[in-house]
């Protein structure tokens, strides 16, 4: 039992480190989905300024 838990833990650690080396997770929401949120922000800015 102990061995299985250790194995699973090690497996998990290796998975998580693998995920980390693949792509650093940063706060880059503006760049997600092909930078579509840049267009959204630009559009909202125009609408807010015009309606103001």
């Amino acid at each position: 039992m102990q061995k299985i838990i250790t194995l699973l833990t090690l497996l998990f650690i290796s998975f998580s480190t693998f995920a980390q080396t693949e792509q650093p997770q940063m706060a880059d929401a503006m760049r997600s989905n092909g930078k579509i949120y840049v267009v959204v922000v630009v559009c909202l800015l125009i609408l807010l300024c015009i309606s103001h």
Partner: protein, 230 residues
């Protein structure tokens, strides 16, 4: 109906711009990615600005020809809306450049600061800000109308060299200039993509009509304020 059909047209075109602009197919390019859709918003601000400034200078010339005070009100209203659209174009351009030039193209702050297109657009906007400073500095209405009408012609003469010609001559990061390597075909009218054109031209007309609509409201307020003069 015969008087306000263009307002309906403006609303329809803008709805088409936003829906088509977000959902229709666009060319797949590196660095730009989906932000190429800003063509329908950022670029249209500048086009609307140029058209509104053009209308403004026409009314200034009309004022100088017949000294009708109404034309002065029209000219200043159009210039005001044009300046508003210019500022919107500048701000939206700053957001766009932040996510395409600054980090993804590896441009330093220094190369952004000496970017001829930004400097030229900044100069053009400041020239038009000076138009309103000049308007505010007169107490004599006739003198104000005459001097600012002349200044408006000067400002319009400076507009196209600063935002189009000089960036073309010296090269710029902005698409459309020689030396630009951002790989954006959108502003180069020789090879603008047909899919972009489908939304882009209606968008220019729609945003310009919206600008005219805002201007007519401003003109009507100004005419009411100056009722005893006219």
């Amino acid at each position: 109906m015969h008087k306000y059909w263009w307002k309906i047209l403006a609303v329809v075109l803008l709805i088409y711009t936003i829906i088509g602009g977000f959902l229709m197919d666009v060319p797949r390019l590196f660095i730009l990615n989906e932000s190429i859709r800003n063509l329908y918003f950022h670029v249209c601000m500048w086009f609307a600005m140029m058209i509104l400034f053009g209308v403004s200078v026409v009314y200034s010339i009309k004022y100088l020809r017949n000294q009708d005070y109404r034309n002065d009100i029209y000219a200043s209203s159009y210039a005001g809306t044009g300046l508003f659209f210019g500022l919107l174009g500048y701000t939206t351009g700053a957001i766009w450049a932040n996510y395409t030039w600054v980090t993804d193209q590896g441009q330093s702050l220094g190369s952004i600061l000496k970017e001829p297109k930004l400097l030229g657009a900044g100069i053009a906007i400041l020239i038009y800000c000076a138009y309103f400073v000049l308007r505010g500095s007169f107490t004599d209405i006739d003198k104000r109308a005459r001097v600012t009408a002349v200044y408006n012609i000067f400002a319009f003469a400076m507009l196209f060299p600063t935002i189009w010609i000089i960036p073309r001559l010296v090269g710029s990061l902005h698409p459309g200039a020689p030396g630009s390597d951002s790989g954006n075909p959108a502003l180069n009218f020789k090879d603008i993509d047909a899919r972009l054109r489908m939304v882009f031209y209606p968008a220019v007309i729609g945003w310009t009509l919206l600008g005219v609509w805002i201007t007519t409201l401003k003109m009507r307020i100004a005419l009411l304020k100056e009722k005893e003069l006219l």
